[in-house]
């Protein structure tokens, strides 16, 4: 007999509860008093708090009118009398809107309305019988939080005006609604004890039966509240376990589906709303990140900033996250991450007298292994990021409260909360958090953040009201509403035993962000190097009496750091954000170039010896490299000094026999598409290829809705053949260089590669000149090496990380695409191959095939992403017994060309240790000291001895001690100060 499922078609008790909850919500407000006349002025924002107005003056706005425009802002104002019935009462301003509005009442910042909140207490801002409402509004088609169905229904550039109102809140009905929000969540979530839930439904039904729904009154609501107190809250029969710390927070993307200029208001609205909640709820605490957002508040809303300072002083508004913005933590260099801490911390010290001891990056797409050291040396002992627990697509990250050990052995306490950084503080979300908490054995609390986020806005009255009821609910875990600092200091200490995670915090998602928006990555790399140069030359010139352009450099550096925000540098943003970013980069570069200026002496800006072959710009040169004419010449430069550039004597050094080419180093057999069929090393007497090598691979790349963010492992399943439109051929050769060219194409794009072989260098340089017009495609270049190894070694920008190449477990399988910096390498004991790049970060690993990700073509959030011209270069470097430090030196030389400058004399201590890389030289932030930063990149220990005593500094440039000897360990970053 067939099984017939019993389906209940009649209304269930819990559905009837939901229905009555809806009726009660409709009765929260007493009579609505419409405010009129309302006037509007619409605009398009063109800069921070700067607008182009569509009309010269305000116009009348009536209920039913359409307002807002694409990328639009709107200013409303309304001056009228308070209805007599409201005078002396506790009334509020009411406006239901999909937009985000800062509201002033009678000239004072009263709060904000947005898709998540519709009312502001108003009577406290009014003394007479007149009210003057002014709003500053900004409308996004993409709401802050797409999980809010009401918001989704109203999204769009054009909005219907539903009117401004004054009204009073029926407090009992409102309070009952908060109770019902808790109980309906418990009932519908399935997270709670079944017996308890059925008893709850029965008792709730009895409470709600005390109300006459034809005439809902405050008196009846009170009866229901009393019944709930007595029969539901008071009953402690069913008990839960667990300890959950509740922290108010709002995640604010500086740019994403909005531009940086819009984040100024988003931040202001968020801060204002949270401060007004503090006024109403004295116990409410809120945590806010990013020095940059505080800076914009100070600059554009000084009145609110002053109020904020007081709230910070009272310990209610908490600064968290030491960094200047919440940066991407994969692509920025070590020095950039240090500057995030330096500029963030110095701002917080200057303005609030606080050194922040937490790094707070809830939404960042994975975290480099170099970070613990940088944090520890920047006054930060604690790290918080939610992403790995909630977004990993393959493995469950095994810890929530743990110790994170960095590449150099530095350790920080780490919290990866079990649930999302945006929650509504619902009971089910808190229980889910506790259930998912994997470090219960540490006897610590788990962290649950509440508040709307992405575009700011934060906690709501409802979230706080719900929280105030949790203590009465025995089925809830024990909760504490505390600051982040309290959570960290109370839980992370030696009284608890934590497991250690020793490695990078790789996010098993968003693997495309190492590659998306190629131009941004290229500029970022180039400018990181130019900042180093600019600061170093400025220090040297200051020693000769010139002025160090301190303010200018700091201002420009901060602009670079803003653009390292985790939805800018990774490429996950709309078209105008890209345009802003490139505009910023051009401005930064022009300013840096003017500071660097040009002289007539070639200078090696690195503290490493430079003996090889390099491209030297020359208007009469025979080669064109990345748009510039010049020649490849032998160079011989001591560290940080001027040196010689030589042209080798003419001699026959190249043999070309169709596609087989012989140089003093190699016998290479090319395929017509420029891939290398055989790379035989004549000196080492060995073959380096084993399969596709230097071969372009063109894939269909359809990761789905997280288009710009993700590369999925199945990209390999659909490879699309490339046509060869111009076969590999020798273009030109001279006494040093032979340049070959090959062009391949798709239906829409062309891809030229100039392959250069050298007489005096092992490097094989490949310049890519691309006209890219694809959609949902990925171009990689593959290297199958005749190397027996299970490890891929990748540059982290401050040392290296070794990653397994096999696919033995799900952890390696998930790490099929990862982030590297200037180079990767595969080696056996006596030989290997490194690939060095000038702007590429994504590297794919699939057994023995390694691929460098070159370009993507994604559609969301930017339909124009990566379209157009691209020019970038990588180098293939087969080598014998090389140390990783030597490979890193080659990569540094490749990324930091010789410069033409004035005659410079470099102090001796800058070259104190040949094994360490001089990562940065700058003037100290707070003194005239010169700050030198060295990094160990080879994985070695050592000792630096100075002739005179130097100051050992932390990364905030605080003096730790004076010494003439520093003992360092592998991958250590050392900062010293000299007079």
């Amino acid at each position: 007999m067939a099984h017939i499922k019993v389906v209940r078609r009649s209304m269930r008790p819990e559905e009837y509860i939901e229905l009555r909850y809806g009726w009660l919500k409709n009765s929260i407000y007493s009579k609505m008093y419409e405010l009129s006349p309302v006037y509007i002025k619409e605009a398009h924002q063109i800069s921070e708090n700067e607008y182009e107005f569509y009309d010269s003056d305000y116009r009348l706005l009536s209920v039913g009118d359409t307002f807002y425009s694409p990328d639009g802002s709107a200013f409303l104002k309304c001056k009228c009398e308070i209805p007599e019935e409201l005078i002396g009462k506790d009334y509020c301003f009411y406006f239901k809107t999909a937009s985000e509005m800062i509201v002033k009442i009678n000239g004072k910042y009263a709060g904000g309305v947005d898709p998540n909140r519709e009312r502001i207490p108003a009577s406290e801002f009014v003394t007479g019988n007149k009210i003057f409402i002014e709003t500053e509004g900004f409308n996004r088609s993409k709401p802050d939080d797409e999980r809010n169905p009401e918001t989704l229904a109203r999204r769009g550039c054009r909005q219907e005006f539903t009117g401004l109102f004054l009204t009073t809140v029926n407090k009992n009905i409102q309070s009952l609604c908060y109770d019902l929000e808790i109980f309906t969540d418990i009932i519908s979530s399935g997270q709670f004890n079944e017996e308890y839930t059925s008893i709850l439904i029965s008792r709730l039904d009895k409470a709600l039966n005390l109300i006459d729904y034809d005439n809902i009154t405050e008196v009846d609501a009170k009866k229901a509240i009393d019944y709930i107190e007595e029969h539901i809250y008071a009953d402690k029969t069913y008990r839960s376990s667990g300890k959950v710390a509740l922290v108010g927070h709002s995640h604010l993307d500086i740019a994403y589906y909005w531009r940086r200029i819009h984040a100024v208001q988003k931040n202001m609205r968020t801060v204002l709303i949270q401060m007004r909640l503090m006024d109403k709820y004295p116990d409410f605490r809120y945590a806010h990140t990013q020095g940059y957002t505080y800076e914009t508040l100070e600059k554009y809303y000084p009145e609110v900033f002053e109020e904020l300072k007081q709230k910070i002083k009272e310990g209610r508004f908490e600064i968290v996250g030491a960094m200047y913005v919440e940066p991407d933590c994969n692509v920025p260099s070590a020095e950039s991450l240090i500057r995030q801490c330096l500029y963030g911390q110095h701002y917080f010290r200057d303005k609030f007298g606080i050194t922040v001891d937490s790094c707070f990056l809830p939404d960042v797409f994975g975290n480099s292994w170099i970070l613990p050291q940088i944090l520890k040396k920047s006054g930060v002992n604690y790290f918080i990021s939610n992403k790995m627990s909630t977004w990993n697509d393959t493995n469950r990250f095994p810890h929530n409260n743990f110790i994170w050990r960095g590449a150099d052995g530095s350790e920080v306490y780490a919290s990866v909360p079990p649930t999302h950084f945006i929650t509504w503080n619902e009971p089910s979300q808190i229980v889910e958090n506790w259930e998912a908490f994997q470090d219960k054995h540490t006897d610590t609390e788990t962290l649950s953040m509440f508040g709307y986020g992405d575009g700011g806005s934060g906690a709501t009255e409802e979230m706080i009201e719900l929280m105030h009821r949790f203590d009465k609910l025995s089925v809830m875990p024990e909760t504490r509403h505390i600051t982040v600092k309290e959570f960290l200091h109370d839980n992370f200490n030696e009284a608890h035993h934590f497991d250690v995670w020793d490695g990078e915090l790789y996010l098993e998602m968003h693997r495309g962000t190492f590659t998306t928006k190629s131009d941004i990555k290229k500029y970022n790399r180039r400018l990181e190097n130019k900042f180093r140069l600019c600061e170093m030359l400025s220090v040297l010139r200051a020693k000769e009496g010139k002025i160090y352009p301190e303010e200018k450099i700091r201002e420009l550096y901060k602009k670079l750091l803003i653009n390292q925000f985790h939805d800018i540098l990774p490429g996950s943003h709309i078209t105008p954000v890209f345009r802003d970013c490139i505009k910023d980069y051009k401005e930064i570069e022009a300013e840096l170039d003017s500071i660097i200026s040009v002289g007539d002496t070639y200078f090696n800006p690195l503290n490493i010896e430079r003996q090889g072959v390099e491209f030297i710009e020359d208007k009469n040169g025979s080669f064109v490299r990345e748009g510039k004419k010049g020649d490849y010449r032998k160079t011989d430069f001591a560290p940080l000094s001027s040196g010689k550039i030589n042209k080798d004597s003419d001699a026959v050094w190249l043999s070309v026999n169709e596609n087989t080419i012989e140089t003093p180093f190699y016998r290479i057999s090319f395929a017509e598409d420029g891939s290398i069929v055989s790379l035989f090393d004549i000196i080492l007497d060995r073959e380096f290829t084993d399969g596709d090598f230097n071969k372009l691979k063109f894939y269909d790349d359809r990761p789905g809705v997280y288009d710009a963010w993700d590369i999925l492992p199945d990209y390999k399943n659909k490879e699309i053949p490339l046509a060869v439109t111009e076969r590999l051929h020798l273009v030109f050769s001279d006494s040093e260089t032979a340049e070959f060219s090959v062009t391949q194409s798709t239906e829409k794009s062309t891809w030229q590669r100039k392959i250069r072989l050298f007489r005096n260098s092992r490097k094989i340089e490949v310049e890519n000149i691309v006209d890219w017009h694809e959609i949902h495609k990925l171009m990689k270049v593959a290297f199958n090496c005749n190397i027996l190894t299970r490890e891929l070694t990748c540059d982290t920008s401050a040392g290296y990380i070794k990653r397994e190449m096999h696919r033995n477990t799900s952890w390696q399988q998930a790490r099929f695409e990862c982030c590297h910096h200037k180079w990767f390498d595969v080696s056996e004991a006596d030989a290997g191959i490194a690939v060095i790049n000038d702007c590429k970060y994504g590297v794919g690993v699939s057994d023995k095939e390694i691929t460098l990700s070159l370009l993507r073509a994604t559609e969301r959030p930017d339909p124009l992403s990566d379209l157009g011209a691209h020019n970038f270069t990588y180098v293939i470097l087969p080598h014998g017994e090389f140390s990783y430090g030597e490979i890193n030196n080659e990569a540094l030389i490749f990324n930091n060309p010789l410069i033409l400058t004035d005659n410079l004399s470099v102090p001796e201590e800058w070259c104190a240790d040949k094994k360490l890389i001089l990562q940065s030289v700058k003037k100290a932030e707070k003194s005239d000291m010169t700050v030198l930063r060295f990094v160990e990149t080879n994985g070695s220990r050592g000792k630096i001895s100075f002739k005179n005593k130097v100051k050992l500094l932390n990364m905030l440039e605080d003096v730790i001690e004076e010494t003439d000897t520093i003992i360092y360990k592998p991958f250590e970053i050392i900062t010293i100060g000299t007079d």
Partner: protein, 77 residues
Amino acid sequence: MKDYINNVLSPLLQGDGGYIEYLNENKDEITVLARGECSKCAKLEKCLIWCEDRILKEKNRKVRLTAIRKKPFFWDK
């Protein structure tokens, strides 16, 4: 008109994650391609009316805009 739509109006819509592109015109009927957020926006028609108003004000031309929506594959259900 193509230049105005692609370089003045479209950048505004791009500010909301949208995108329109001039396709063709027949007398005063102009067809645009709507991508990105515009491809699935319930308010697109109202938005196009706003664009028509801008064209009238800025270019002194009364036109009717029609959009062909092209959703990315992951929204095209």
